[in-house]
Amino acid sequence: MNNISNKAAIVGIGFSGFSKDSGKTELHMICECIKAALDDAGLVPPDIDGIVKHSDDATDEHSVTSSRGMGNLTYFGENRWNGAPCAMVLRAAIGVTTAAANYVVIYRAVNEASKRRMRGSSRNMAQLDTGDLLQWTYHAPFGLVSEAGRVAMIVRRYMHEYSINSDQFGWVTTVCREHGAKNPDGIFYGKPITMKDYLESRIIVDPIRELDCHEETDGAIALIITTAEKAEKLKQKPVYIRGATQSQVAGTEERKGFYRPAISDLPEMKHMGERLFAMAGVNPRDIKVAQLDDSFAPLVPMQLEELGFCDRGEGTAFCDGGNRIRVGGELPLNTSGGCLGEGHIYGVNHVLEAVRQIRGTSSAQVSDADLVLVASGAGGSTSGLILGGSR
């Protein structure tokens, strides 16, 4: 197959500590992360000639390039929405494998917890594009104004169709916090929870509890991507991009898929997963660790189903008791803690953790983690990666 599979690799990682108040601007954090990623890879700023960023990020490639003393860029652009993280890696891989650039940095920096100047969630109505406006017209006047509400609407229907009790979602958060408690860089280091804590946590928007929701976080991450050949000459063990795909399906609206045939489905995740496994030439049972979108806990069992790790309606049973999804189980999930247990860097932290697993440097390391799946953006524009320690 003539595609980018095995032709590019992640060669450098840099990240800030995640916290409730970084005390810094996003630009400052990202410059520090890029420095760390360059040092990690054994590269210098002028080597970087490509940047892929998130469209909601409050920094731009010009100020980053100038601040870091980088050279001329030949490739730059941005990806949107919650499905961006793996898509940013795909875009970087396309850049290096087509020789549009040699070394591409991707980054995300957010001060979501401290609200120190952040773009995206604070956008006002006048800045919305026509598609967003059409949705907001029909949602906001009725009080459906939060992400938790959108997810609650979808999860209610999912529970109805598969006879699921909302208590069952608690194992996802419990295991994520168990993993996050081992992660010294996360905001819940040393702070695991029990199922009892979950069941006692307050209802935000029924059926979503407080402990179903990601934790607002300040933090930043940078990753460097180059070709497999160049990667093999650098400092770190290359983390090969075995598969990378995006999906958007017809008949849906970004993050508000209330109008498609069944709102309890994640059709983008299914479509993305099928193409991802075909591209990487592997099956779900070959995957040793997965980093799934846990911005809200109930999205995790839905992804397990759509990605083919279990049958439809069996996702919560798969997570029940936590033994299959914790380190040591058949499919450890979100080993850094993810959005529920490490911090909400909008899923870029999931890509970072996949790299650490393959390098063998995770704080919740899985033995023989040579194939790791990452999924971003459950319920809207979606992207995914399969990363490998060999090609």
Binding site: T130, T137, Y138, F142, G149, R156
Partner: protein, 139 residues
């Protein structure tokens, strides 16, 4: 119980745009209308420049029978916006025409809502220039 508003805070009502104007003009006159394709008859909501099925740009605002069932719902126990007083519920209604609409129920407590519950449209004139289509339980 119906959704309660805190009158000191304006409701989040985004500007009307060309594609959705007919819908809101309809509710102001207490008529529920949805976009319907003139070529193939497909009902479309939210409105679109063209029919997603046959791709025709020929469309009209067609009257709905106003009846449907609750497809899903969510109950806010904490208000995410100062204009809305919690607790309140938001419902996703599947109309008999096949389209779905986000709305609120009147005269129904959260514990009285169930998926599949038959409902019909009522109109709530919440401001001089805005009427919201809401629903009440039938039977």
């Amino acid at each position: 119980m119906s959704i309660q508003y805190n009158k000191e805070h304006p409701l989040p009502t985004p500007p009307m745009i060309w594609e959705n104007m007919g819908f809101w003009e309809g509710t102001k006159e207490h008529r529920l209308v949805f976009q319907r394709c003139k070529e193939c008859g497909t009902w479309v909501h939210p409105p679109r420049p063209a029919c997603p099925k046959c791709r025709s740009f020929e469309k009209e605002w067609a009257p709905s029978g106003g009846k449907g069932t609750v497809y899903s719902w969510a109950t806010y126990s904490e208000s995410p916006h100062p204009a809305f007083v919690a607790p309140y519920s938001v419902v996703l209604v599947e109309m008999d025409e096949g389209v779905r609409l986000i709305s609120n129920l009147i005269d129904t407590k959260p514990e009285g809502i169930s998926i599949g519950m038959p409902v019909e449209v009522v109109f709530d004139d919440i401001a001089d220039d805005l009427t919201l289509p809401k629903f009440r339980k039938v039977g």
